[in-house]
Amino acid sequence: MTQVLIPSQLTSYTDGATRVAANGTTVGAVLDDLDRRFPGLKFRVVDEQDRVRRHMRLFIGQAETRDVTTAIGPADELLIFGALSGG
């Protein structure tokens, strides 16, 4: 399973967990799996047109992606961050 780093902005969905595991072969599928367990989480990160929200950032390891169709494997780590977005 892919390990997913959860930012503080989303820990209200994960009962406080900052690291969870999820299944999926793409970033979107991993987020879908998370959303099944933590309803509502995906929509806060990705909009209804499958675009990563402006002030959210996704990384597979060190590589940033804004494409939810990007492939991801069980050995990868998906890191979700809240970007810097002013006050």
Binding site: F43, D47, E48, D50, A83, S85
Partner: protein, 372 residues
């Protein structure tokens, strides 16, 4: 203290409540809820006052709707917040919900949401799931009425108000910042502009069919055919079924002007309404003209307006009061409330004759609503 009036305060940083006693003299602040969340509108259901609905987003996260069915003690998130259809031809996504409106009394559980970019959504299950109102969102002229646009205040164009005719659930109006007032008589399946004689200072044709910027729209409760509009370009009144608005703001003092965000009709007198003018000169400072805050009241349908500034700062009072941040409590005498972007709440228990600050140091206030 027994709470007689509860104000629901939505701010850029969360929710607060202000509880007032029977005399509306003593007030207690409670909160915050959703600290750090942007709350554009927080509304209670007059059909079931235990139901509260909040339009919520954050600087990072996408928009959602928070719901309470126990008067705000516990909250849950909508399982399907307002959103366009995936793959919709214009690629739109909801940036935030701006306005929440309880449905007609004949339709318990129905709610409406106006969002940015300008779009309308409906829930039939007390806000748990929301569906796109295709009659507006997929209207053939939708992209003419609401062309894609970044920025604008606050945070992009939106549906700025939803008004439902208390006599007919199918009859509704929308206040919009790019198409003025839109009207439907079939509960949103079809829409038509209602903007005759409403000025657009910022367009080559100053009186177009669409393009007007309606800041707020309301009807007189005792006469729902009487509409009041605070527009980007003036204060207007319309008595339906007529379609030509009358700029009653022309009777405002010239040095104050008739620009502002809110307009509050009296609950029992269709001749009476209040506005809270903002400076609309030069670069549109949108603060109290001259740094001297004041409400203005008409008691003759807009023919004349009287200044009500007793209690407000006499100088250096640069209030900005946004669209949803002024309201009345419907009591007798009418209580009036307003919240400023500098986090102050001001109240009048005597129909605007005198004002006093009842809270300060809150975050930027977006909405002030009286709980039913």
């Amino acid at each position: 203290m027994t709470t007689a009036v509860r104000l629901l305060i939505g701010t850029r940083k969360g929710v607060w409540f202000l509880d007032g006693d029977e005399g509306r003299a003593d007030w207690r602040v409670e909160g915050p809820l959703f600290l750090g969340h942007i709350i554009n509108h927080l509304v209670a259901d007059p059909r079931d006052p235990k139901v509260l609905m909040a339009a919520s987003s954050t600087g990072h996260l996408g928009p959602t709707i928070q719901r309470s069915t126990d008067g705000g003690k516990t909250w849950s998130e909508a399982s399907r917040p307002p959103a366009f259809e995936p793959g919709e031809p214009h690629g739109r996504s909801v940036h935030h919900t701006f306005w929440i409106e309880p449905g007609h009394p004949s339709e318990p559980g129905v709610w409406w949401a106006g969002a940015s970019p300008p779009s309308l959504f409906r829930s039939a299950d007390n806000g748990d799931t929301w569906a796109s109102v295709k009659g507006l969102n997929e209207h053939p002229k939708a992209m003419d009425w609401f062309p894609p646009m970044d920025g604008g205040t606050p945070d992009g164009p939106m549906i700025a108000g939803i008004v439902i005719d208390p006599r007919d659930a199918r009859h509704m109006y929308l206040a919009t910042p790019m198409a003025g007032v839109l009207e439907t008589t079939d509960q949103g399946q079809s829409w038509a502009p209602l903007n005759q004689n409403v000025r657009c200072d910022y367009l080559p044709d100053p009186y177009p069919e669409i393009g007007q910027d309606t800041h707020q729209l309301a009807f007189s409760p005792t006469n729902p055919d009487r509409l009041w509009q605070q527009n980007h370009c003036g204060i207007y009144r319309l008595d339906r079924p007529a379609e030509r608005w009358d700029r009653v703001g022309d009777a405002m003092p010239r040095e104050v002007g008739d620009i502002g965000f809110s307009i509050i009709p009296h609950p029992r007198c269709d001749q009476t309404a209040w506005v809270f003018p903002m400076d609309g000169t030069e670069v549109w400072p949108r603060v109290s003209p001259g740094g001297r805050p004041a409400a203005y009241r008409t008691r003759d349908g807009g023919a004349t307006w009287e200044r009500q500034d007793n209690g407000f700062p006499r100088e250096q009072g640069w209030f900005t009061v946004k669209r949803q941040a002024m309201c009345g409590d419907g009591r007798d005498p009418m209580g009036l409330y307003l919240g400023t972007t500098s986090g102050e709440v001001w109240a009048s228990a005597d129909e605007g004759e005198s004002w006093r600050q009842i809270a300060a140091h809150l975050p930027e206030i977006y909405s002030v609503v009286v709980a039913p």
